[in-house]
Every structure is written in structure tokens, then in C-alpha cells.
């Protein structure tokens, strides 16, 4: 009986380790082949470790992608700040100041985060082009245009996260501030905002990885390669017939690195927020 249980546990660990190795395979391929020199790289020796470590592929991939990394940074930072700020004030109002019609507005807002973005793509392009033609606001083809798009389509999820978070702030706290004479703005500034750090962490992680990883808007709105975010540049690199595949691997790893680092260092907070409800659910 006891030895039977032992065997089951050993089997369990074997299964866990084998599966873990399986999940890590793609990472091994990226690192392993990214570190090979151009001469050494070969499809038939994909799994063999490099005889000599060479930074060539990473250097080459970085040279190709560096301008696009810059574009992605210029995109992610304002798009995250904008969507987080709007989500926070919206969430506060929806959770604590329910105005007439809030019950209708909220689900309608939520649906916006599920839609396939193909269903807004044609009008979006037309709208951005029209802004340039009619009002001389040149957003189409620019990172600024993408920032606007990601802020607007980020509003539903950021509002949802903040609203759920603020709903768990005891109403007495808000009431107390009101009795002390604080209005809507004052309560937000002095009571709600100082409590908001955990929600901001979740929202920022979410928005940073979403916007960094996004492809469809990026490829449709920015045509000029010099203005494209890094995902589009990687796709061009990987789709190219003349770029060595070890450079593609190095480029893919570089592109994956920022969200990966965010995840490794902050993932705990993210998951905690993400799954808080499933525990109660």
C-alpha cells in the first residue's frame, strides 16, 4: 500500500517534469539557435548546443528591430498611462457614485473588450484617414494614432478591473469622507487613489503586455516600416526569405523579452488580481 502511493508520487513528478520540459522546448530553441554563429547554424542540428557562443544573431536582430523597439516603447507608455487613468476614474464613478443609467452603460462598455477588432477595422482606418484630410490631424500611419486606438479599446477592461477593485473598498470609507465634507473629486484624490496601487499594478501589467503584443491594429494602421511597432517588424523579419533563421530566433526572443520580464517579476500580482474572483466564483 505505502509503496504503491510512493510509486504514484514518483510518477507524478516524472509527469510534471516531462511536461515542464515540453513547455520549455520553444525557449530552448530560441536561445540555443540565437546563440549560434551564422556558420554553425543548421536546421538538422537545431537541438545541438552551439560549439562556440556567438552574439552575432542577437546583434543583427537587434540592429534590425531597434527602431521598432523604440516605436513600441513610445506606444506602450502613453497608451498604458491613458487607459489606466481613464479606467481608474470610470471605475470609481461606476462603483461608488452610480449615476442614472450606470447599469446599462457598464455591460455595453464590457462588450467592447470581447469584440473581434476586425469588426471595427474598416471604419477605424477611414476615420483616421478622414481626421488627416479634413482636420489635418495626422494620426493614420503614426504611433500617435495607435496610442489613441489602444487607449479607447483599453477602456472597457481597465474600467472593469478598477470597478471590481473599488467595489471591494468598504462604502463606509467613502461615506466618512463625504461626511467630512469631501466631494466626489476630493474623495477620489484623498481616499480612493491612495488605496488604488494594487489595481494599478494589475492594469499596468495587463495593458503593457496587451499593447506590446498587439498585431492587428499595428499592421493596419502603421504602413511605413520605420513607424511600425516591434511585432510587425518581427513578422516581417520572420516572413523574410533572406534573413537567416537564427536571426529570426534571436529577434523573436528579443521581442518576447519585455513582457516576459514583466511577467517574471510582477506576475504574482497579476495572477492574484486575475484570479481573485475565481476563488469565490
Amino acid at each position: 500500500m505505502r509503496s504503491g502511493r510512493r510509486a504514484v508520487r514518483v510518477l507524478m513528478y516524472v509527469l510534471l517534469v516531462v511536461l515542464a520540459l515540453g513547455y520549455l522546448l520553444p525557449v530552448y530553441v530560441l536561445v540555443n539557435n540565437g546563440l549560434k554563429s551564422f556558420r554553425e547554424v543548421s536546421l538538422s542540428r537545431m537541438w545541438e548546443p552551439p560549439a562556440r557562443l556567438s552574439p552575432d544573431s542577437f546583434a543583427k536582430a537587434y540592429r534590425r528591430l531597434a527602431p521598432n523597439f523604440r516605436n513600441s516603447l513610445l506606444l506602450v507608455i502613453p497608451a498604458t498611462i491613458g487607459a489606466a487613468a481613464l479606467g481608474s476614474v470610470n471605475g470609481y464613478v461606476l462603483a461608488k457614485w452610480k449615476f442614472a443609467g450606470a447599469d446599462v452603460v457598464f455591460p455595453l462598455l464590457l462588450f467592447g473588450m470581447f469584440i473581434p477588432y476586425q469588426s471595427v477595422l474598416i471604419p477605424l482606418v477611414q476615420f483616421l484617414q478622414w481626421l488627416g484630410r479634413a482636420l489635418d490631424v495626422r494620426l493614420y500611419g503614426s504611433i500617435a494614432g495607435l496610442v489613441l486606438v489602444h487607449i479607447v479599446y483599453g477602456i472597457p477592461i481597465t474600467t472593469l478591473i478598477f470597478r471590481n477593485y473599488y467595489a471591494s473598498v468598504p462604502t463606509e470609507v467613502v461615506e466618512a469622507a463625504r461626511i467630512d465634507g469631501a466631494g466626489l473629486a476630493g474623495t477620489y484624490r484623498y481616499v480612493i487613489l491612495p488605496l488604488s496601487m494594487p489595481a494599478f499594478v494589475v492594469v499596468v501589467i495587463w495593458q503593457v503586455t496587451q499593447v506590446w503584443n498587439e498585431f492587428l491594429f499595428a499592421v493596419t494602421i502603421t504602413g511605413n516600416p520605420a513607424r511600425q511597432p516591434v511585432q510587425v517588424a518581427l513578422q516581417n523579419l520572420a516572413g523574410s526569405q533572406i534573413v537567416e533563421w537564427n536571426v529570426q530566433m534571436a529577434g523573436a526572443l528579443l521581442t518576447a523579452l519585455p513582457p516576459l520580464l514583466v511577467y517574471i517579476f510582477l506576475g504574482r500580482f497579476f495572477l492574484r488580481g486575475l484570479l481573485a474572483g475565481a476563488l469565490k466564483g
Binding site: 513547455y23 462598455l109 474598416i122 498587439e214 518576447a256 495572477l271 488580481g273
Partner: protein, 324 residues
């Protein structure tokens, strides 16, 4: 992957109701105009977001629907009304029929893979495993990576002349070598493998949270009653995880119905459209082929497919919240 936060409906919406009810504790006469001012202010604060989402989501969907009913199938805009002609032509197009079939196959296989592996991993990690945090992070990290990156890697891993096939051969399993995405009959499953790699860990995290939420007394009681581990999972724990399975099906299902980047980066349309999906068809016919009305029609069909899955869920969770 939007939507996961829906798992966390606020539990104390009753408190919100007490907030709007004018409480007795407002003696100050100054407070009254301030409250009226604040209720105007609260509407003003959400107004920009409501207008932006109203235009960018609902207005644009309306415009897409209008384009889908028009004859705009060349570079020159032509918004003359043609009724449902674009839809009729789509459903007769062999490519779109393949796309719909691929979507069904992909969704079913992807859901089965994610739910099966996710549940297995969660149950394994729930056995007081040493190094649990490490294992969890390894299963979960693919979720943070973009579909473009994973498409790029898996395109090489499942390339018939290298990657996984080499591993199988080295392991003496040469018979399991596969043409993967170069064979139209199984190409779509190659994309499923990549997608399951990316999101099964997330499914695991959902199940694990569910398992951790089950009271230990319940397990104790089952053990006292002499239930085996298997019986306990089969009859007590799994039924308690049903709400989580539902949430996972909604979140994963709506991702798979609108999948685009992963397929685009990994295989494109594939041999004989064997990995083509509506998202790719829409993108190509609209922005490469200038067939805007046809693209809009595909987009509307995608939207309807997602809406059928998501709207009942939204209604249900809103009602559940209001009932509390």
C-alpha cells in the same frame, strides 16, 4: 486575451446601492447642492469614455454592417445598397466554407486541449508538490508572449525537416514523424498545438484557483467517509469546478473564434487554405484585395459568432451580480 477579469464580479454590489440611497447622516445644508453638483460631475467624468467607446465600438460596428450591405468591392468607395449579396456570396465561397470548418475544428480541439491539460496540471499541482511555484511559472509563462513570437517559433518547431521531428527520431519514435502543417489534412492541428502551448497554463491557473477555493473540510469529510482520491475528485471536486470550466470556455472560446495573429505568423492560409480562418480571410480580402464590403461581411459574421458566446455570459453575470 481580454475577459478574464469577468471572473471577478464584485461581491458587494449591495454596498453600491447603499451609496446612492441618500443616507440620514448628512446634516450639513451645504452638502445638498454639492451632492447635486457631484452627480453631474460623475456623469461628466464617464462621458468621454462612454462617447469614445460608443463611437469606436458601436458606431464603427454599425458602419461596418453598413459597408457589409454595400457594393464596395473595389478601390473606389461605392456605398450603394446591395442587401445581403455579400453574405450570400460568402457562404457560397469555398474558401469561406473551409474557414468556418477550420474555426469549428480549431475551437473544439483548442478547448479540449486547454481544458484537459489545464485540469491535469492543476490537479497534479494540487497534490502538495515540491517546487510548485516553479512548475506553475513554467506552465504559465507562454501566456505573456505574443502570438507573433509563438507563431515564429512553432513554425520552425513543426517544420517537417527539423524541430519536433528530429526529437522524435532521436527518441526512437521515428514512426511518429509528421508532415505537420504541410499536410492539408492535419495542418490546422499544428496551429492548435501552438495555441494550446500558449494558453493551457492559463487554464491551469484558473482551475488551480478553483481547487484552492474548495474548503479542506470537504475533502476531509470525503476521506472520512472512505472515498478514494479518484472518487473524491470525480464526485465532489470536479462538479465544484463547473463554474470555472464555463468561464474558461467563454474566455478561450472567444479567443479561438477571432484567432488571427498566431495563424498569420505561423502558417498563413496554409496549403489549400487548410489553416485559413475568417480573421485571415477578412484581413487579406480587405487590405490586400480592396474588397471592403466582403471584408466587412466576414467581420460581421465573426462578431456574431463571438456575440453568441459572450452576450449570454454577460447577461448572466450581470444578473447574478444584481441578484446579490
Amino acid at each position: 486575451m481580454p475577459g478574464q477579469e469577468l471572473l471577478a464580479p464584485p461581491r458587494n454590489s449591495a454596498n453600491v446601492a447603499t451609496t446612492i440611497a441618500p443616507g440620514p447622516a448628512r446634516p450639513s445644508t451645504l452638502a445638498r447642492p454639492r451632492i447635486r453638483r457631484d452627480s453631474v460631475l460623475s456623469a461628466l467624468i464617464v462621458l468621454p469614455s462612454v462617447v469614445a467607446v460608443g463611437v469606436f465600438v458601436y458606431g464603427f460596428i454599425g458602419w461596418t454592417a453598413y459597408v457589409a450591405l454595400s457594393g464596395w468591392n473595389s478601390f473606389v468607395p461605392d456605398l450603394s445598397f446591395v442587401g445581403l449579396r455579400n453574405f450570400a456570396e460568402l457562404f457560397q465561397s469555398p474558401r469561406f466554407q473551409i474557414d468556418l470548418r477550420n474555426t469549428v475544428i480549431f475551437t473544439v480541439a483548442f478547448l479540449a486541449g486547454c481544458l484537459g491539460i489545464g485540469l491535469l496540471l492543476a490537479v497534479l499541482l494540487d497534490q502538495r508538490v515540491r517546487g510548485e511555484a516553479l512548475f506553475r511559472n513554467i506552465y504559465l509563462f507562454p501566456m505573456s508572449i505574443s502570438f507573433i513570437v509563438s507563431g515564429t517559433v512553432w513554425q520552425w518547431l513543426l517544420n517537417p525537416s527539423t524541430g519536433v521531428n528530429l526529437l522524435l527520431e532521436a527518441a526512437g519514435l521515428g514512426r511518429l514523424r509528421s508532415p505537420w502543417f504541410t499536410d492539408p489534412k492535419i495542418a490546422i492541428y499544428s496551429v492548435v498545438i501552438a495555441a494550446v502551448w500558449q494558453l493551457s497554463g492559463f487554464t491551469m491557473a484558473m482551475y488551480l484557483a478553483g481547487l484552492r477555493g474548495i474548503a479542506e473540510e470537504l475533502r476531509e469529510a470525503a476521506r472520512v467517509d472512505g472515498a478514494s482520491d479518484w472518487q473524491m475528485y470525480r464526485h465532489i471536486i470536479l462538479p465544484l469546478l463547473n463554474p470555472i470550466t464555463l468561464s474558461a470556455v467563454i474566455v478561450l472560446g472567444h479567443i479561438s473564434l477571432k484567432i488571427f495573429d498566431l495563424v498569420f505568423a505561423m502558417t498563413g492560409s496554409g496549403p489549400a487554405f487548410s489553416t485559413d480562418v475568417p480573421g485571415i480571410f477578412m484581413f487579406e480580402t480587405t487590405f490586400r484585395g480592396n474588397r471592403f464590403a466582403e471584408g466587412a461581411a466576414i467581420a460581421i459574421i465573426m462578431l456574431l459568432m463571438v456575440a453568441v458566446v459572450v452576450i449570454p455570459y454577460l447577461v448572466w453575470s450581470t444578473r447574478a451580480e444584481a441578484a446579490e
